[in-house]
């Protein structure tokens, strides 16, 4: 058991970032870690940028991840990935959902949405490894855009040693009952995308 893992989630309100981070927190607890997580509610719910911090460790004090020290950045939306380079380091893996939600300033033509290459170069500043995942496309293929987050969890699970059964059991228990099977499929799809 590694002595700590930090996971920084970034996304847009309504994308399921909070549920996915709750699932990951619960998996940590079931695998024997002390766990903490932190997020901000309120104004940020209404289509604004959302961040959530999940920490696993032997003993976790702060509910927040320290700048420059996250092990993983899980971005549910491309632009949101680019906001967090200061949390990454050379050993960070940035798993990014290839999905764009245009902010109002871009819609109004007042700002430019960054290209994939730009996002990569922003994160490359610390040497973080960028991994693109077609989570949104896979979710639509499975029939529900809201599954993108669980596809990302599947991709993340490849990097960790925790048993797949714990992941699947926890997901099945925490998602709404009628979407259980679909979520397990999405998780497995995320793993397959990484193994290709």
């Amino acid at each position: 058991m590694k002595n700590k893992y930090d996971f920084l989630f970034a996304g847009v309100g309504g994308q399921g970032t909070i549920l996915a981070s709750d699932i990951l927190c619960e998996i940590g607890l079931r695998c024997g870690y002390d766990v903490k997580k932190s997020e901000v509610h309120g104004m940020s719910q209404r289509g604004g940028a959302v961040e959530s911090h999940v920490r696993w460790g032997e003993k976790v004090y702060s509910p927040l991840i320290e700048e420059g020290k996250t092990d993983f950045l899980l971005a549910f939306e491309m632009l949101e990935a680019a906001r967090w380079p200061h949390y990454t380091a050379a050993n960070t893996v940035a798993i990014i959902n290839r999905h764009q939600i245009l902010p109002p300033s871009v819609n109004l033509g007042q700002a430019q949405y960054p290209e994939e290459k730009e996002i990569e170069s922003i994160l490359a500043g610390t040497g973080a490894k960028v991994v693109w995942v077609d989570g949104a496309a896979k979710a639509l293929e499975l029939g529900n855009a809201a599954l993108g987050g669980v596809v990302l969890l599947g991709a993340l699970s490849i990097y960790l040693d925790e048993p797949v059964e714990v992941w699947e059991k926890t997901i099945a228990e925490l998602v709404p009952a009628k979407f259980k099977e679909l979520n397990i499929k999405a998780f497995q799809a995320g793993r397959e995308l990484m193994q290709k």
Partner: protein
């Protein structure tokens, strides 16, 4: 058994375990989930009161009747309830009165960053501050014990990072049922009727109580020294303790669970063990000033800033800059400021949108208020021009109109905010002969904090049906003659009504009424865009609705996000946006 709980869930669990039977509060981020979670426990009675002062008074009543009571609110809510707090400190509580009060350093969802520890000192009541969810659970029972033992209200202080962080909580045995049989109300006028003669006597009791509490602070197990090695001794409470443990892993700590009154001997004990005392506290130098008064040299605000919440990274940076901890390798500076921002905005289909768009078109100067609709201030709608605090809009617009401006003016206030503190200023408009226009954007629920009922909703937090208070009938009853209730999706009617009311020289009220679409989960098919008919005027983009995206030759509406309200079609002059039949 272990369970992951947020600080607020743990406060609620602790409330249940502590045998508290009556809870009252007013929703406000980051405090809302305490009462919501508590209300779901067996045997709980909880209510959303119209405002924090009413909630406090309900809690005081339950405590005076000999029971254990919980009152919850956010930091600014205690400003509203302060009048009651300062005097219940004098009367004492008889039963137990526990006030969970959540500060919001960094103003994640608030209009100011006040440090409510000052309230404990100013009102001379005890304040406890848990550092994680496990402590949040345990401290409720400790607060009940202190309240009953010392006949005092107890404030449990939280912050956003405690309330909305999750960590592991140990589950406990079900609580033994606390007797709930009715007791006779203790009729003790000299203790509970605070006329000057009685209050002067109680003033002495309060002072004696504070002395006893200061002594209690020295021995309570929630204040303790964690021996370490090295020269530094850190004093910290709440979530700042967690951050400080990561930055000063070797230091000796004085971990405070009780932040008022502060323990003098424990602080001297810590100072005697180390070469340098460091206080790690967000916002005001509350603990630091106390340590200084004891004549102990201390590093606090000279090292750490007094604005915005801390994190271990922020503490480390400032501690390293002054040599308290070794400097880590410099992290590169990143230029992310050029990235497009993603501010919160009104939800797709929100019924507030047509009102703000009309106010913008009519160039009305708008005195606003607190709620989702404060987002009407954001561009491109940009149609709110002041927002001070709950209920301020109506008094503000009357003041603006009395001062005399040439613009059209109006107050915009939400339904829950209106019931919270909009009624007295509404009566003021009438009783002082004002002529202002008040617009109540009434979505039938307290939407901002996650859909809590209010006096206009018609049902209570516990699910009981009750009469609903009609805003327009209330306005007529206090003397308003010009009152209109409109459907905000009838955009021509919205424009005509606001134009007419703001031109009129009598006081008037518009209720723009449509339920929060998130709450009723309304979803109709998205309109279709006829790109051939579109002349790219941009009107539909200026209503700031997120499903609407600019594309070559026109716009596209994202059917996944759109709820089909059709407002965009009503602002399209070309008929290019078509609502499906």
């Amino acid at each position: 058994m272990k369970k992951i709980m947020s600080g607020n869930e743990a406060f609620a669990y602790g409330t249940y375990l502590a045998g508290i039977k009556v809870g009252a509060g007013y929703p406000g981020t980051p405090s809302t989930e305490v009462l919501e979670n508590y209300s779901r426990y067996p045997g709980a009675y909880a209510e959303w009161s119209p405002n924090e002062k009413v909630a406090m008074d309900v809690g005081i009543g339950a405590a005076l009747a000999g029971k254990r009571a919980l009152v919850t609110m956010k930091h600014v809510g205690l400003n509203v309830a302060a009048d009651s707090l300062f005097t219940v400190s004098y009367t004492g509580t008889n039963g137990a009165l526990v006030i969970v009060n959540a500060d919001d350093p960094s103003m994640h969802s608030s209009q100011n960053e006040q440090d409510n520890r000052h309230y404990a000192k100013a009102s001379k009541v005890v304040m406890l501050e848990p550092a994680d969810s496990e402590e949040a659970k345990r401290f409720v029972k400790i607060a009940v014990d202190i309240s009953e033992m010392f006949d005092t209200p107890v404030i449990l202080r939280s912050t956003t990072r405690l309330s909305h962080s999750k960590c592991v909580v140990e589950l406990e045995d079900e609580p033994a049922d606390v007797a709930v049989e009715p007791a006779a109300y203790e009729r003790n006028a000299s203790k509970y009727v605070m006329v000057p003669m009685n209050a002067r006597q109680r003033r002495l009791v309060v002072e004696e109580r504070l002395k006893k509490l200061a002594e209690y602070a020295e021995t309570t197990p929630i204040n303790y020294i964690e021996p370490g090695s090295g020269d530094i001794g850190v004093i910290a409470a709440g979530v700042n303790y967690q951050y400080a443990k990561e930055v000063f892993p070797e230091a000796t700590f004085l971990k405070l669970g009780m932040v008022y009154p502060l323990p003098e001997r424990l602080i001297r004990d810590l100072a005697g063990r180390v070469k340098q005392v460091v206080v790690v506290e967000e916002l005001d130098p509350f603990i630091e000033e106390h340590v200084r008064l004891l004549g102990i040299p201390v590093k606090g605000r000279e090292v750490f800033p007094g604005i915005a919440e801390f994190s271990q990274g922020r503490i480390r940076k400032h501690a390293a800059a002054t040599g308290l901890v070794p400097k880590e390798a410099d992290t590169p500076i990143f230029q992310t400021s050029q990235l497009p921002v993603r501010p919160p905005m009104l939800c797709p289909g929100c019924a507030h949108r047509p009102v703000f768009y009309a106010l913008q078109r009519l160039r009305v100067a708008v005195m606003g208020d607190i709620g989702c609709y404060t987002l009407g201030a954001a561009p491109p709608l940009g149609s709110m021009h002041s927002c001070i605090c709950m209920g301020a809009s109506i008094g503000n617009v009357h003041g603006v109109d009395r001062a005399g401006v040439k613009d059209r003016t109006a107050a915009v206030i939400g339904d829950s905010t209106f019931f919270h503190s909009g009624i007295a200023p509404l009566i003021n408009l009438i009783s002082n002969g004002g002529n202002s226009t008040v617009i109540v954007v009434d979505n039938r629920i307290t939407a901002m904090t996650g859909h809590q009922p209010h006096p206009g909703t018609g049902w209570t937090m516990m699910g009981k049906e009750v009469p609903n208070v009609s805003i327009d009938a209330l306005a007529r009853a206090v003397g308003f003659k010009k009152v209109d209730v409109i459907n905000p999706y009838d955009f021509k009617l919205v424009m005509d009504t606001i134009r007419e009311h703001t031109s009129s020289d009598e006081p008037s009220l518009i209720v723009s009424q449509y339920p929060c679409v998130l709450n009723i989960k309304e979803k109709k098919p998205a309109p279709a865009v006829d790109l051939d008919a579109c002349n790219e005027c941009g009107n539909c983009l200026r209503i700031a609705c997120s499903p609407m995206t600019k594309v070559d030759g026109g716009v596209r509406i994202d059917p996944a996000l759109c709820i089909g309200c059709g407002f965009c079609a009503s602002v399209c002059n070309q008929g290019a946006i078509k609502v499906p039949n």
